[in-house]
Symmetry: C2
DNA sequence: TGTACATCAGTGAACGCGCGTTCACTGATGTAC
DNA sequence: TGTACATCAGTGAACGCGCGTTCACTGATGTAC
């Protein structure tokens, strides 16, 4: 009445605020359980206990265990996506190589900070759980879309060296896949560079996964940060980004 | 008595043969359960059921659940190691690039055939389980040792192109790690190539993991075999293997 | 401003399930003399 | 070759546990008139 805030974007009622607060708490507690016991052991009862509530009460907020997994998946993708976006945007628009390295390092540092979420998103599939594509595809593709957009912008700016190492032929079937991707994402970058972009993508996550999942022995690599940055440097060369 | 077979390598008694047969059965059934429900859900009771035996009986053969996991881990590493060895050895000794590609393709085809074992070895760690290094290190390093030996042999034969793409500097801390590795494994290959070898290693597994763990969307890549072979071809160039 | 009703959060008991692991036991198979 | 004993595989009952999910319920908070 007195103020002009009746902008029809109806402000949340106290109940609604309490409700979304509780859902946020559930997701947070779920993430902690993920970190302690892994996705397969994620249990609604345990989350209810930590929430200080009887186990059946969480069913007011979450349909079942699988939906909690879905919420955690989406939450993880968005955390990672936000950090990657911020890292890339902190680099000058013309420094494509720097943007690529910032992206890679953002992925690594988030993964090391949240190994359980990383494992949920990029590790072994959770047995018996199938992510609902309608809800996870958009957040789940943020990083790769960002990576591709860096490569494409670099190409359009003439910053992708076309004569990278020994050229490797692209078989027709693979070229067809590349065409589809290029069309769907409105890209300019040609087949060879696009295919190398895919390799770079999987390689970045391969390096991060080895480190997070403990595939490097306990003490084979002391200089892991340097190793990763070196890997990024080489990968940058693979796709022809100079700088 | 009648024959000369008392060579002191005492032949197994019937009981001993039955025993190792049963252990082999347990491992085989465990692998099947892994494939169906994942490592976290691996249960001794379920294995006992499939073995047609009461649940407490498996404790005659396996100390506890963790030991079954260890057996499966070792079994998986050795399956993979055997296939990789066979693939590499089927290529002429002088064709280092061919050996590398054979290794990569052997990893991929085993992983696609045994996705659950692959997930156990290279996916998210199993919560609460710590592999006993004394038993798993040797089988667990077979692939990387084989890969390194291909690179080293190529280097010694002068088949590693030293002027690969833009050279990337190796910081001192990383160089120290490389020195230790070189000494421990008796290698000749220099820092730059060794570091690129590590990248190639993690990249091969990164590409395989993305495919096995379903990170590529359902239909983004139809030509997965071609994609992987292309990736191997580029990686081969990264480390300077010509051919 | 006050009353009557609807909505929602949380309770507590219960269902049926599978798990790892221990233990005292029965019988069959091997070994020593 | 035969007997006495030791070893081993497998049984079946029991322990205590945690899980997902349903359901009828109580009480507090919101909404319509």
């Amino acid at each position: 009445m007195t103020s002009v805030e009746a902008t029809k974007a109806k402000p949340p009622t106290p109940r609604e605020r309490a409700r979304s607060q509780t859902i946020a708490d559930i997701v947070r507690l779920g993430r902690e359980h993920l970190a302690l016991h892994g996705a397969a052991a994620l249990s609604l009862r345990a989350v209810a206990r930590d929430l200080g509530v009887v186990s059946s009460a969480v069913y007011r907020y979450v349909e079942n265990r699988d939906e909690l997994l879905t919420l955690l998946l989406i939450d993880g993708y968005n955390q990672l996506g936000d950090e990657v976006d911020a890292a890339v945007e902190s680099v000058p628009a013309a420094d494509f190589a720097g943007q690529f390295r910032a992206l890679g390092m953002a992925v690594r540092s988030w993964a090391l900070r949240e190994p359980a979420s990383y494992a949920l998103l990029f590790g072994s599939p959770v047995p018996g759980y199938q992510a609902p594509g309608e809800r996870t595809t958009v957040p789940g593709t943020r990083v790769i879309l960002r990576l591709v957009s860096v490569f494409d912008a670099a190409y359009r700016a003439g910053a992708l060296d076309p004569k990278v190492t020994p050229a490797v032929v692209i078989p027709p079937a693979l070229a067809a896949d590349m065409d589809a991707i290029r069309e769907q994402l409105n890209l300019a970058v040609p087949d060879a560079a696009l295919a190398r972009g895919v390799l770079v993508w999987t390689s970045v996550f391969g390096a991060v996964s080895f480190e997070v999942f403990g595939q490097y022995g306990a003490d084979t690599f002391a200089a892991r940060q340097e190793l990763f940055e070196h890997q990024l440097g080489v990968l940058q060369g693979v796709v022809g980004l100079q700088g």
